[in-house]
């Protein structure tokens, strides 16, 4: 199956926008983005991580909490509060990691647009500062490496 390419842009110094098309109607995509038992199956990040905790109270003012765990048992948690919730077209929520590396509140807005049975999801991540955005990009890179480091260690000590 041909998959659409994911676009990542940085339209302003505090923002990061990701856009991707999915071959499913909007309501279904919205469910996959908001139902814990579905979110736990795909929002895993780099290889080697699982998502043992996924709690979502889907309403304005409701909170969500995610915790990921890697093969070494290391955990990373984050959570926030829903600011907007318009099923099945729009979501906005604050995002804060347990170790507070983003240096302030991050706002994540998700918009879903359906065309002929396919849904385009645009996610705008608005960081507190430019430094926070750059740190997040580096973190994305760093987090992606953890599993690789282990593989490399094995390789180098072999």
């Amino acid at each position: 199956m041909k998959t659409a390419a994911l676009k990542v842009t940085t339209p302003s110094e505090r923002e990061l926008v990701m856009t991707r098309e999915f071959d499913a109607p909007r309501g279904m995509v919205f469910d996959a983005l908001t139902k814990p038992e579905l979110v736990q199956r795909w929002l895993l990040g780099p290889p080697g991580w699982t998502m043992p905790v996924c709690e979502i109270d889907l309403r304005v003012g409701g909170k969500y909490r995610y915790v990921w765990r890697n093969a070494d048992g290391r955990e990373m948690g984050m959570g926030g509060t829903f600011k907007e919730m318009v099923r099945p077209s729009r979501l906005a929520a604050t995002e804060s990691y347990d170790d507070h590396w983003t240096g302030g509140e991050t706002l994540v807005t998700t918009e879903l647009v359906e065309t002929r049975g396919k849904t385009t999801v645009s996610t705008t991540v608005r960081y507190a500062t430019r430094e926070a955005r750059d740190a997040a990009l580096k973190m994305g890179a760093t987090k992606g490496l953890e599993a690789s480091y282990v593989r490399l260690d094995e390789l180098l000590t072999a």
Binding site: L6, V8, L16, M18, W42, L145, Y149
Partner: protein, 133 residues
């Protein structure tokens, strides 16, 4: 060394060490031999060689065959790839979204089965009627 699937990962691992980053910074200014590289770091040549080996495996440096001192040279391409954070971020999300594609496919299949089952439930009724007639 041929580029392999783990090259980019190896590049990041190699970059995680401050001494190796300093070695790369030195090589960005020009080719240098092991002796020249060992000088500013207050390290033994074998220790530097070990770091160089990691950098070489990661494809970040190469050694020239011409001169006998075999100076090390910075390979710019993998370094550029490694510093392309956005690309890296994109990859992680592409991984997430590929899994999401699979979840959506499954939901579509389930929905179709539910619809088919409903249609199936509707169908036998006229048959029953016919039989009772």
């Amino acid at each position: 060394m041929k580029p392999t699937g783990y090259t980019l990962d190896a590049t990041f691992a190699a970059l995680a060490d401050p001494t190796r980053r300093a070695i790369l910074a030195r090589l960005a200014a020009g080719d240098a031999s092991v002796t020249e590289l060992a000088e500013p770091f207050d390290m033994s040549q074998p220790a530097v060689s070990k770091h160089l080996k990691v950098l070489e495996r990661a494809g970040l440096i190469s050694r020239s065959r011409q001169a006998q001192r075999r100076p090390r040279r910075l390979e710019p391409r993998p370094l550029a790839e490694a510093t392309d954070w956005i690309e890296r971020y994109r990859r992680i999300w592409e991984g997430n979204y590929k899994r999401l594609d699979a979840v959506l496919q499954e939901l579509k299949t389930k929905q179709k089965k539910t619809i088919d089952a409903l249609l199936h439930e509707v169908k036998p009724k006229p048959n029953k009627k016919r039989r009772t007639r």
